[in-house]
C-alpha cells in the first residue's frame, strides 16, 4: 500500500530497510546518531540498530570516507553522510584518489561498495558552503557512479539500490525537496524497481525536451505545465543518473522533439549540461532544430541567501530558454 511521505522520510525508510536487510550495512557521519542528522534523514536509526551500525564520527570528512574505505575492504557496506555539499572537499582526495580507484588499482580484486550521501543545492536561505552543487567534480571521475533523486518514490528505492550496488555511488539528495511529499510503495520488492542507472520520462511531450535532475526536476515540471498553457507540449526527463548518464533515453527523446534544454543549479561552465550539449550535438545533429540550450547557475561562487533566487534557475528562465529554442 502506498504511503504519502516526504522525500526525507522516504530516504529514512530506505536506509532503515537497507540496515534490516544486510548486517554489513553501516551508516556513518557527523550527527547521524542521536540527532538523526541535521536534516533528520537518519532519525531513529541509531536507537534501533545501535551505535556500531549508525556511527557518530569525529568531525572530519576525510576521516569519514577514509575509514569507510577500510571498512569496505573488511567487507562492510558503509553509507557515509556528508553533512552539506560544501563540506565534501576535505574528503575529496579520499573519494577521487582512493574510493574511485581501489577496484581498478587492484584489477578488480578489492571492492569498496560505499555510498556517499550529499545533500546538495540551494534555495534554503543558508550561509556560505550550504547550497552548492558539486556533482560535476564527481561525475568527471572515472570509478565513481553518481546519482540524484528528485521525488520520494525514487529516494526510497534509489538509496537502497545504491547501497546494494558494488560500485561506489555518490548520492546527491535535493535538500530543498526534503519536505516535499509523494506516494511511496514501502512494501514493494526492490527487485521490481526501476533501474538505478536509468533516466525517466516524467512528462511525455512532443515539442522540446527538458533535461533536469535533483532539485531542478520540480522546476522543469512546473515549466512544462506553464508551457502547455501556451500550447507547447514539453517532455520532461529526470536524468536520475549523472555517471553514467543514460544517453540512449535522452537521444531517443531529442530525436523526437528536435529541441533540448538542460537545467541545473551548478555553474554552467564545464558542467553536466555542457557534456549533455556536446553529446546530444554529436548524436542527434540531424534531428536538432536548435542548439542545445542550458539554464544553469552563473559562473560565480554561490551568492548570499538574499539573492539566491536570482541565481537559481526558475520557471521563467526555463521558459525563456524554451522560447529561444523555438525562436531559432
Amino acid at each position: 500500500m502506498a504511503e504519502t511521505i516526504t522525500l526525507g522520510k522516504a530516504l529514512n525508510h530506505g536506509l532503515r530497510r537497507a540496515l534490516e536487510n544486510d548486517p554489513k550495512v553501516v551508516i556513518m557521519g557527523e550527527d547521524v546518531g542521536k540527532l538523526g542528522g541535521v536534516f533528520r534523514i537518519t532519525d531513529g536509526l541509531q536507537k534501533d540498530f545501535g551505535e556500531d551500525r549508525v556511527i557518530d564520527t569525529p568531525l572530519a570528512e576525510a576521516g569519514i570516507i577514509g575509514t569507510a574505505v577500510g571498512l569496505a575492504i573488511r567487507g562492510y557496506r558503509p553509507v557515509c553522510e556528508i553533512q552539506f555539499d560544501g563540506f565534501v572537499f576535505p574528503a575529496y582526495n579520499q573519494i577521487v584518489a582512493q574510493v574511485a580507484k581501489m577496484f581498478y588499482r587492484s584489477k578488480g580484486k578489492v571492492r569498496v561498495p560505499m555510498v556517499i550521501r550529499i545533500p546538495f543545492g540551494g534555495g534554503i536561505g543558508a550561509v556560505e558552503h550550504h547550497s552548492e552543487s558539486p556533482e560535476a567534480y564527481f561525475s568527471h571521475t572515472p570509478g565513481l557512479k553518481v546519482v540524484s533523486c528528485a521525488n520520494p518514490a525514487d529516494a526510497y528505492t534509489m538509496i537502497q539500490q545504491a547501497i546494494n550496488s558494488d560500485d561506489p555511488v555518490v548520492f546527491f539528495e535535493p535538500k530543498r525537496r526534503y519536505w516535499e511529499k509523494g506516494e511511496v510503495e514501502l512494501e514493494a520488492p526492490l527487485s521490481g524497481a526501476y533501474p538505478l542507472h536509468a533516466a525517466r520520462v516524467l512528462r511525455p511531450g512532443t515539442d522540446a525536451t527538458l533535461l533536469a535532475y535533483g532539485p531542478m526536476v520540480r522546476v522543469a515540471l512546473d515549466a512544462a505545465a506553464a508551457a502547455a498553457e501556451d500550447g507547447r507540449n514539453l517532455e520532461v526527463i529526470d536524468l536520475r543518473t549523472l555517471s553514467p548518464v543514460d544517453y540512449p533515453a535522452i537521444f531517443e527523446s531529442v530525436r523526437r522533439t528536435g529541441r533540448a534544454v538542460v537545467v541545473h543549479e551548478a555553474p554552467g561552465n564545464l558542467g553536466i549540461g555542457a557534456e549533455l550539449a556536446a553529446r546530444i550535438t554529436e548524436e542527434c545533429f540531424y534531428s536538432l532544430e536548435a542548439p542545445v540550450l542550458r539554464v544553469t547557475g552563473y559562473d560565480i561562487p554561490y551568492p548570499a541567501a538574499r539573492v539566491e533566487e536570482d541565481f537559481l534557475p526558475d520557471l521563467d528562465r526555463v521558459l525563456d530558454a524554451v522560447d529561444r529554442s523555438f525562436g531559432w
Binding site: P58, G66, L71, P90, M102, Y104
Partner: protein
C-alpha cells in the same frame, strides 16, 4: 598486576611518553629509543621504558639466523630492483635501503591473521608476509597499478598518496572490532605504515583521532627515515614524532629502527596489546634512508656525505652479522650461503620481471567498475574497432 603488564578490555591505558631510561650505544637521539642490539652487535637482552614496560627477545640460534637471512634477502632484492630501474626495466623504484630492520622486524612481528597497510616502500614487510616478492613489480614496471587482493595476502595495495592508507587501516581496524575479533590473544590486529613526511598530513592526524576515539586495534608504524624527499625532519615537526601520540591519547614509543630485534619486540607487543583490546600504539622507528627517495631523486642536492657515512656505521645488517659471529652461531659458510641464496632469488626475480608482458592496451578498460558502465563499454568497443581498422593490426 605486574608493572608493565596491560589488562585486556576496559579503558585504554594511559598514554606513555615512551621515553627510555637507558640510552644504549650512546648514539640515540635525545630522549632515547628502544634498542636491543647495538651497532656493534651487542645483544642487550631487555630494555625498560619510563612507563615500566620491559621489552626483550630471546630467540633460538636458528631464529636469529632467520632474521639475518631475511635482512640480507630483502636488501639484495632491493638492489636488484634498483639495477633493473637503472637498466630501463622499471619505470621507477622506491628503495628500502637502510630500512631493512624496521621492516623485517615489524613484518615478522605480524601474526598470520593481522592486516598490513603499506605505503609504496614496504617491500621488506611484503617479503616477511610470505608474499612472492615479484608482486609489486608490475606497479614499478608500469604494467599495472598493483593488482593484488588485499584480503588474500593480508597486505593492502601500495598506496602512493602520502598518508591516505592510515585511514583505510583505521577503518579496517574498526571493522575488526565490529566483527568481535579483538579482546583475546588470537584476535586480529592491523598495522599502518607511513613515513615522517606523512605525519604532517591531515589524514594521518585524522586517523590518530579515529583510532583513539574508537580504540582501534592497530599499530601506527612510522619509519622516520629523516627525509621526506629533500625535506628534513625539522620541517615536519617540532617534537619527536612518537610524542605526538600522547596528544591523541595512546602510547607512543621510539625504537632504534636499525635494530631488527627492537623492531620485532616493540611491534609484537603493540600488536598484541591491540588484539587484546587495548587500542592503538604509535611506533616511531628511527632510521635512515640510505638511498634516494626514489630512483628519480638526487639526494646529493640536500644532504652531506658525512651524514650518510655516520649512518653506515649503524647499518641494520652488519650488527646482526656481528652478533651471530660473536655468538659463534653462524660461520663464513653460512654467510656465504645466505648471500648466494639471495643472489639466486634476485636473479630469479630479474628473469621474471623481464618476462612480464606488457598488457594488451584494451585491458585499460577493465575493472573500472564492479558493475559495468555503458559509457566505458562503448569506449572500449570504439577503441577496439579503431585499432582493428589498421591494416595488419594485431587487435
Amino acid at each position: 598486576m605486574a608493572k608493565g603488564e596491560r589488562k585486556a578490555g576496559g579503558k585504554p591505558p594511559a598514554p606513555a611518553d615512551g621515553a627510555v631510561d637507558r640510552i644504549p650505544g650512546g648514539d640515540a637521539p635525545a630522549g632515547g629509543f628502544v634498542q636491543l642490539l647495538t651497532p656493534d652487535g651487542e645483544h642487550l637482552g631487555s630494555v625498560t621504558t619510563a612507563d615500566g614496560t620491559t621489552y626483550s627477545v630471546d630467540f633460538t640460534d636458528e631464529e636469529y639466523r632467520g632474521f639475518y637471512r631475511d635482512l640480507v634477502t630483502v636488501r639484495r632484492l632491493d638492489a636488484e630492483a634498483t639495477a633493473l630501474q637503472r637498466q630501463g626495466e622499471l619505470g621507477i623504484w622506491a628503495s628500502l635501503l637502510g630500512q631493512e630492520a624496521a621492516q623485517v622486524g615489524s613484518g615478522r612481528a605480524l601474526r598470520q591473521q593481522d592486516m598490513a597497510f603499506p605505503t609504496y616502500r614496504e617491500h621488506g614487510v611484503l617479503y616477511c608476509r610470505g608474499i612472492d616478492p615479484i608482486m609489486p613489480f608490475g606497479l614499478f614496471r608500469g604494467v599495472d597499478q598493483g593488482g593484488w587482493d588485499a584480503n588474500e595476502h593480508k597486505f593492502n595495495g601500495y598506496t602512493i598518496v602520502i598518508g591516505s592508507q592510515t585511514l583505510h587501516a583505521t577503518g579496517y581496524a574498526m571493522g575488526v572490532t565490529m566483527d568481535g575479533k579483538t579482546g583475546s590473544p588470537d584476535g586480529e590486529a592491523v598495522i599502518a605504515y607511513f613515513g615522517d613526511g606523512a605525519t604532517s598530513q591531515g589524514e594521518v592526524n585524522e586517523s590518530f583521532v579515529w583510532a583513539g576515539v574508537f580504540n582501534a586495534p592497530m599499530v601506527f608504524f612510522c619509519q622516520n627515515n629523516q627525509y621526506a624527499i629533500s625535506e628534513p625532519l625539522e620541517r615536519q615537526t617540532r617534537i619527536p614524532l612518537y610524542r605526538r601520540a600522547a596528544g591523541y591519547g595512546f602510547p607512543g614509543i621510539r625504537i632504534d629502527g636499525n635494530d631488527v630485534l627492537a623492531s620485532y619486540a616493540v611491534t609484537r607487543a603493540a600488536l598484541d596489546n591491540a588484539r587484546n583490546g587495548q587500542g592503538p600504539t604509535l611506533i616511531e622507528a628511527y632510521t635512515y634512508r640510505m638511498g634516494a627517495h626514489t630512483s628519480s631523486d638526487d639526494p646529493t642536492r640536500y644532504r652531506i656525505a658525512s651524514e650518510v657515512e655516520s649512518w653506515k656505521a649503524k647499518d641494520p645488517i652488519a650488527r646482526v652479522k656481528a652478533f651471530l659471529a660473536k655468538q659463534q652461531v653462524a660461520d663464513a659458510d653460512f654467510f656465504a650461503e645466505v648471500d648466494e641464496t639471495a643472489r639466486k632469488l634476485a636473479l630469479d626475480l630479474r628473469e621474471r620481471v623481464l618476462a612480464m608482458p606488457d598488457p594488451q592496451p584494451v585491458t585499460m578498460f577493465d575493472h573500472v567498475y564492479p558493475n559495468s558502465s555503458p559509457e566505458v563499454d562503448a569506449q572500449r568497443k570504439a577503441f577496439d574497432e579503431y585499432h582493428a581498422s589498421f591494416e595488419g593490426s594485431g587487435h
